[in-house]
Amino acid sequence: MAKMPVTLTLNGMERAGFADPGQNLLEFLRRGLGDLSPKYGCGQGTCGACTVTIDGETQLACLVLAETTEGRTVGTAAGLANGAELDPLQTAFMDHFAAQCGYCTPGMLVSARALLDRNPKPTREDIIEAISGNLCRCTGYEPIIEAILAVSEGRTGP
């Protein structure tokens, strides 16, 4: 069974690996490239824990064939911070107790970042819509919504 070489830009760096036929991007990122920030929650496209961006759009890595990302730009939660400097959303999640078990958090942050990138001043309803594909079982939603609102309104601290 021939493996396919895949080269893509992951969080700003060119990365390459070999994908199995039919392998999804989630497995390729995690096992192939060692980016463990996207999480497996269902493999069915129903939980959002594997949310990444592909060419700037949020997608579900478990529903993307790894081989189709050749030459594309992929972003994950591991790339949110600028070096040691956290994204304001990450800081807000920390201050607002917007994570409990932390398993949905990377995907949630990718969705939240994508929202603020295209709509810096979302309403509460916009935020609800934007995170509706990211399940938090703990939950979680109220402080998450509040943390995203805080960033959009320029509030810092808890």
Binding site: D20, R31, G41, G43, A78, M94, G102, R137, E142
Partner: protein
């Protein structure tokens, strides 16, 4: 939607004299220690440990609710690409366990991989180990099992009727056996029938709690690998590290010192990660292949094979006076345990100890059953043993309030337990705050309650008469079961097991040759003396009428049956 977000109201004025609020770190809203790992995606969940050459394990499962297993033919599957090994029940050193055997609670009733029959849809009978998950999935389909379907039963009350199919041969009557003696756990406090005869109103109800999936976003699983020096490392999402270690030690017949369990960062549990399914399986896979091996449920398995909180059915009959006082409460409860015990037997006792809810009622009766049915075994889930019966009690209280024409909050305060009251399990209540919670909500929600209800307090009005045990308690031998030996919660005839983890596991047959590393189990050290009890509840003032059969069961901390 305008939900108020963040923060809550502290009612610091309540119980202020019982508290020291002048502390440095306690009571402060301090960031979580693990939060930076969570928001950067660096927190190490069990599946975040990468191993070169990781093998993947997937199980062959029963498509039937209940079926005898004929031949399991793995020949074709073993020839499939990437398949390294296929395990069946004969590969498991001690292929029968019950989760709470570590507490000497219940009889071993559940195989790791079933050999003779499957008692629920989804029960595993073989485990394929392959180089990729896709290869394992493909090979699972190629394993041929001769299934001979058997009649099945899915409703717990049906399962208790004579002639119902036996689900779990360990308990032929389809009910867990308590104290080697009864097919249910009893609670008898006072004389409920007499009190019901004198009550102004009888209020009856039947309540059904649904089966609930824990649904952590991280599915259950474990990765095990050969470590140095004849040990195995196991990265796990368990909720109970030593529970899983003890279970693995037992079913693998392997001393705990030969295993290294690492976990503690878990993507949600809610009770479903106590069952310790994947740890022994993945270690066994690593032992038999010499390579790292992962056992993990996909979402479909998590939802239908992973144990839910089982359904519960409760019947409640209350005797109520015109003024709202509840003078008698009678329960019959059926916990749907599924095909094997897991933790349901314990939840029944927890539920019985909780009755009749946060109320002081002079006559209480309960029969609570742990019933076997041909469905996925039930296990812990947030509130196990309590959530279902609280639903029943509090829905019932609403009917009682309607019957006597009383505000439902007042009704609860009128019947509430207070410091010093005697509870139905014959211990005094203390540290109560039920009345105050009711009062705070009534005030916040603008519900008018009587001056008496507003003035009530958990700290006053209890004890005295309310601390007295009933003058007479009606007991009975209904539900007597033969063939089990009295002396524990469920014990069949035979010598009692030795204490401690490994000794309980003493295999009754040689270890299979496939486990070259297995060694005789070590005898645990003599148990240490019990530490003093910190502030335990005061026992009831009066000795109950009968104590026969009461036991103290051994636990891994060294307590011995007396």
């Amino acid at each position: 939607m305008n939900a108020r977000t963040g923060g809550f109201e502290f009612r610091k004025e309540l119980f202020a004299d019982e508290r020291d609020d002048d502390l440095n770190e306690i009571g402060k809203r301090i960031r979580r220690q693990d939060i930076e790992g969570h928001v950067t995606g660096r927190s190490p969940f069990y599946d975040d440990h990468l191993f070169d050459g990781l093998l993947h394990m997937r199980c062959v499962r029963s498509p039937h609710h209940h079926a005898r297993i004929g031949r399991i033919d793995t020949a074709e599957a073993e020839r499939m690409p990437g398949v390294v090994r296929i395990l069946t029940g004969k590969d498991v050193p001690q292929n029968l366990n019950t989760l709470l055997s570590l507490l000497d609670f219940g009889l071993d009733d559940e195989p790791v991989l079933s050999v003779d029959k499957a008692a629920y849809k989804g029960e595993p009978v073989a485990a394929v180990i392959a180089q990729t998950e896709a290869q394992a999935r493909a090979a699972v389909k190629a394993v041929r099992v001769d299934w001979q379907p058997l009649p099945h039963v899915l409703d717990p009350e049906e399962a208790l009727k004579p002639g119902a199919p036996t689900v779990c041969e360990t308990y032929p009557g389809n009910a867990f056996v308590y104290h080697g003696k009864y097919d249910h756990q009893k609670l008898r406090y006072g004389d409920v029938e007499a009190a019901l005869r004198q009550a102004d109103h009888i209020v009856e109800g039947r309540y059904q709690m649904s089966p609930i999936e824990q649904a952590p976003i991280e599915t259950c699983g474990a990765i095990s690998a050969p470590e140095q020096n004849g040990r195995w490392v196991c990265y796990t999402g368990t909720q109970a590290l030593f529970f899983s270690l003890g279970t693995a030690s037992k079913v693998l017949n392997l001393p705990s010192s030969r295993m290294h369990f690492i976990g503690g960062t878990v993507g949600g549990g809610f009770g479903g990660k106590v069952d310790s399914i994947h740890e022994p399986l993945s270690i066994l896979g690593a032992m038999l292949t010499g390579r790292p091996c992962k056992s993990q449920w996909d979402r479909e398995e998590e939802m239908q094979v992973g144990a839910p909180r089982g359904a519960e059915r409760w019947y409640i009959t209350d005797g109520v006076m015109n003024d709202g006082r509840i003078v008698a409460r009678k329960f019959t409860g059926y916990f749907d345990g599924g095909a094997y015990t897991r933790l349901t037997s314990y939840a029944v006792i927890k539920g019985v100890g909780h009755l009749p809810g946060p109320y002081t009622i002079p006559n209480v009766y309960a029969d609570a059953y742990c019933v076997y049915t041909n469905r996925t075994p039930a296990t812990a889930m947030r509130g196990f043993g309590i959530t279902g019966v609280d639903f029943a009690i509090e829905a019932h209280m609403d009917k009682v309030a309607e019957t006597v024409g009383m505000n439902p909050i007042e009704l609860r305060i009128l019947n509430a337990y207070r410091d010093g009251d005697m509870k139905a399990h014959r211990r005094e209540a203390k540290n109560c705050a039920f009345i105050e919670c009711c009062q705070v909500v009534a005030e916040k929600a603008g519900v008018t309650i009587s001056p008496e209800a507003r003035a009530a307090s958990s700290k006053t009005g209890g004890g005295g008469e309310r601390a007295r045990l009933p003058a007479f308690t009606a007991t009975d031998e209904h539900g007597r079961v033969e063939g089990f030996e009295s002396g524990s919660y469920a014990r069949k005839g035979g010598a009692p097991a030795a204490p401690g983890i490994p000794a309980e596991l003493t295999p009754d047959r040689p270890s299979p040759p496939t486990l070259p590393t297995a060694r005789p189990v070590e005898t645990p050290p003599t148990p240490a003396p019990a530490p003093t009890t910190p502030d335990q509840e005061k026992p009831a003032a009066r000795t109950p009428q009968r104590r026969s059969g009461a036991v103290r069961f051994s636990s891994i901390s060294g307590f011995r049956r007396r």
